[in-house]
C-alpha cells in the first residue's frame, strides 16, 4: 500500500490508574484528501484516539501506549507534539479555551511564530487563513468579541495558517448555535475542496454523512465498524446494537423497506434519498 496520510496499527492505550485500556488494538488508515468521521457513544475513547494522532497522547497526557501511528509516513512516537503541529492541526470543542491573544491577527500569528515562520511570510498567510474562514477585515478585533461560531472559525484559521496537511476537529460545533454550526461546516466544506485531510468527531450523523468520506465507529475502545460513509451508515441494525443511529433519511428508507416490503437503496443524504424514493414511487 502506498504511504497513507494517517496509518494506525494495533494501537492500545491505557491511562494511569485505570483497570482497562481506553483504546484496544485499533488499526485503520486514511489516504491524503480524505475526511474521516469518528462516531461512538460517550466514553468510547474518541477524543483519546484523536489526541494519539498528533502525539498529545501520550506525550502530554500520560499513559501506556503500544502499537504504531504514522502520519505522512513519520512515526508520531519518534517526533514531539511541537514538531507534529506543523503537520497536524487540532481544533477543540470549546473555542474560548484555545484563544489567547489580544487581536485576531496576533492569534493567527501565534502558532506560526512557534514554528519559526518568517515575519514577511506571516502577513500573507494570515490573509489567506482569514479568507478561508470568511473573517477578512477582522484582523484588529479582539478574539473575545467574536460570536462562538466566529471564534471557532478563528481557531481553525490559526491552525490553517500553520499549513498542516491534516486537520483534527473534536466536536468542533457542539457548543455552537445553529448559525455557528453552519458557519463551521461551511469552512469544512471549503477545506475538503482544497484537498485537506481531516478527522472530525461529532454526534450529528447527518453532518458526518454529508461531509465525510469514511466513518469509524468506536465503542468500548474498539473499532466496531470502519468503512466508507455508505458502508457504515447502511448497516443500520449494527448501529442500533451500538446505541447509535444512521442519518434520518437512511433510517426512513430502511423502515420503509421493512414496512412496505420495499427494495430501496439506503441513501445517506437528502438529495440521494429523494432520488431513490421518487424513482421507486412514480
Amino acid at each position: 500500500m502506498a504511504e497513507q496520510a494517517i496509518e494506525v496499527t494495533n494501537l492500545t492505550f491505557e491511562y494511569p490508574d485505570t483497570e482497562e485500556p481506553v483504546l484496544k488494538d485499533i488499526s485503520f488508515s486514511i489516504d491524503y484528501g480524505e475526511i474521516l468521521g469518528i462516531i461512538g457513544p460517550t466514553g468510547a475513547g474518541k477524543s483519546t484516539l484523536a489526541m494519539c494522532v498528533n502525539g498529545l497522547v501520550p506525550q502530554v497526557i500520560n499513559g501506556e501506549m503500544e502499537g504504531d501511528i504514522k502520519v505522512k509516513g513519520m512515526n508520531v512516537h519518534e517526533s514531539n507534539v511541537a514538531a507534529m503541529s506543523e503537520h497536524v492541526g487540532f481544533v477543540f470543542q470549546e473555542p474560548e479555551n484555545q484563544l489567547s491573544q489580544m487581536t485576531i491577527e496576533e492569534e493567527i500569528a501565534f502558532g506560526m511564530g512557534n514554528l519559526g515562520v518568517p515575519r514577511e511570510e506571516m502577513l500573507g498567510r494570515i490573509k489567506d487563513a482569514l479568507s478561508q474562514v470568511s473573517l477578512e477585515g477582522f484582523e484588529e478585533r479582539s478574539p473575545l468579541a467574536l460570536s462562538g461560531g466566529q471564534q471557532q472559525r478563528l481557531a481553525i484559521a490559526a491552525v490553517l495558517a500553520m499549513r498542516p496537511t491534516i486537520m483534527i476537529m473534536d466536536e468542533p460545533t457542539s457548543m455552537l448555535d445553529p448559525k455557528g454550526k453552519n458557519e463551521v461546516y461551511d469552512v469544512l466544506k471549503n477545506l475538503k475542496a482544497y484537498g485537506m485531510t481531516g478527522i472530525i468527531i461529532d454526534h450529528e450523523v447527518e453532518r458526518i454523512a454529508a461531509y465525510c468520506d469514511k466513518v469509524l465507529v468506536l465503542d468500548g475502545g474498539e473499532v466496531q465498524m470502519f468503512g466508507t460513509t455508505e458502508e457504515v451508515f447502511t448497516k443500520i441494525d449494527r448501529l442500533h446494537e451500538l446505541t447509535l443511529h444512521a442519518p434520518q433519511v437512511t433510517e426512513f428508507l430502511s423502515q420503509y423497506n421493512q414496512q412496505f416490503d420495499g427494495k430501496l437503496d439506503l441513501a445517506t443524504t437528502v438529495k440521494k434519498a429523494v432520488e431513490v424514493y421518487e424513482s421507486a414511487n412514480k
Binding site: D177, H203, V249, Q259, V270, V274
Partner: protein
C-alpha cells in the same frame, strides 16, 4: 406570525400558570436583552425556546424565578408577581437544570445532592425522604447513591441534576440545552425525561438548539431573535415558515427537508419525524387499496 397558544386544549378559557406581560430587560451596561415579550404558559405545556446565542433565551427564562426582574412589564408565576416575591419562594415553583451540570453539583455523594434542594425548602424529614426516594426510583439511581457525582460521566451528572430538581418538584422545570454534547442514547433519555416530567404534571421549558428533540416532541415552540419573540406556535407550524427559520438561522431536522423535497406527500403538512412520514404513507396506501376495492366491486 401572530403569537398564539394552540397547544393546551381549551387554553383560551384557562388561566395561564405563568404570564409574561410586555416584558423588556435592559442590563446595567445598557444592552437590551429581551424586548416587548408577551407570553402565557399553561398547565401541562412543554415549551421549547429556540434562537441563536445572544438572542435573549436565557435572559428571558431567568425572569421565571426572579433571578432577573423585568426593567419594563411584569411577570406572574403561580399567581405571584416576581418583582414582589423572594427568589427562595419562586424557586420552589420554578427549577432549573443548567447546561453544565458542574455548575449545580457540589456535594460529595449523589444522595446528598438529591437531598440538598429539599433541605432548602424546610420540609419534614419524612417528606424529604419520600421525595428523594421517588426521584431515585424514577432515575434508576439506586446503585449510584454513594458515588461522588464528579466520578460520573457528564450525562449521568446531568441526570443527577434532573433528579435533584424532580425531588424538589417545582411546578415549572427549565432545562437549558439538555442534549448538548450528549450521544444518541443520552438524547433519547432526555426525550423520555421531558415526557415523564409532563406526565407528572410539570410544565417543561426547554432552551435548546436540538431540532431533532423538538421534532420528536412537536411541542409549542418559541423563536427568539435579536431580543424579540418572532414566532410562537406548534413546532410543525413554526418549521414550515421558511422566513422565520431563515431569520433565526434555524434548520429543521433532516427528515423535514427530505419530506419537503418529496413530490407525492401531503404538501399542506410539515413532517418532523421518520414515523410521521411512514404513517402518512401507510394511510395513503390503505386509502388507495380501499379505492381499488370499491372500484372493482362496482
Amino acid at each position: 406570525m401572530k403569537a398564539q397558544t394552540n397547544n393546551g386544549e381549551g387554553a383560551e378559557t384557562m388561566q395561564p400558570y405563568m404570564s409574561v406581560k410586555n416584558v423588556s430587560h435592559v442590563y446595567p451596561n445598557g444592552v437590551t436583552a429581551v424586548k416587548d415579550i408577551d407570553l402565557d404558559i399553561y398547565e401541562g405545556e412543554v415549551v421549547a425556546i429556540l434562537g441563536s446565542n445572544g438572542s435573549g433565551k436565557t435572559t428571558l427564562v431567568k425572569h421565571f424565578n426572579g433571578l432577573l426582574t423585568p426593567t419594563k412589564g411584569e411577570i406572574t408565576v403561580g399567581g405571584l408577581n416576581t418583582k414582589k416575591e423572594k427568589i427562595s419562594k419562586l424557586s420552589s415553583l420554578v427549577g432549573y437544570v443548567f447546561q453544565n451540570p458542574n455548575h449545580q453539583t457540589f456535594l460529595p455523594s449523589v444522595r446528598k445532592e438529591l437531598e440538598y434542594g429539599c433541605t432548602n425548602l424546610k420540609m419534614s424529614e419524612s417528606e424529604m425522604e419520600e421525595r428523594v426516594n421517588k426521584a431515585i426510583e424514577l432515575f434508576e439511581l439506586e446503585d449510584k447513591l454513594e458515588d461522588n457525582p464528579f466520578d460520573l460521566n457528564s450525562s449521568q451528572r446531568k441526570e443527577v441534576a434532573m433528579a435533584s430538581i424532580m425531588a424538589v418538584s417545582p411546578k415549572v422545570i427549565v432545562l437549558d440545552e439538555p442534549t448538548t454534547g450528549q450521544d444518541h442514547k443520552g438524547c433519547k433519555r432526555v426525550l423520555d425525561l421531558v415526557r415523564m416530567f409532563k406526565e407528572h404534571g410539570h410544565i417543561v421549558v426547554l432552551i435548546t438548539h436540538d431540532m431533532h428533540l423538538i421534532g420528536e416532541l412537536n411541542c409549542r415552540t418559541i423563536v427568539m431573535n435579536q431580543s424579540r419573540k418572532i414566532a410562537d406556535d406548534q413546532a410543525d407550524i413554526v418549521f414550515s415558515h421558511k422566513g422565520i427559520m431563515k431569520e433565526a438561522g434555524l434548520q429543521p431536522p433532516q427528515i423535514t427537508s427530505f419530506a419537503n423535497d418529496l413530490s407525492n406527500l401531503d404538501s399542506s403538512k410539515t413532517y418532523l419525524t421518520v414515523d410521521s412520514i411512514l404513517s402518512w404513507i401507510k394511510e395513503n396506501k390503505e386509502k388507495k387499496e380501499e379505492a381499488v376495492q370499491i372500484g372493482s366491486g362496482s
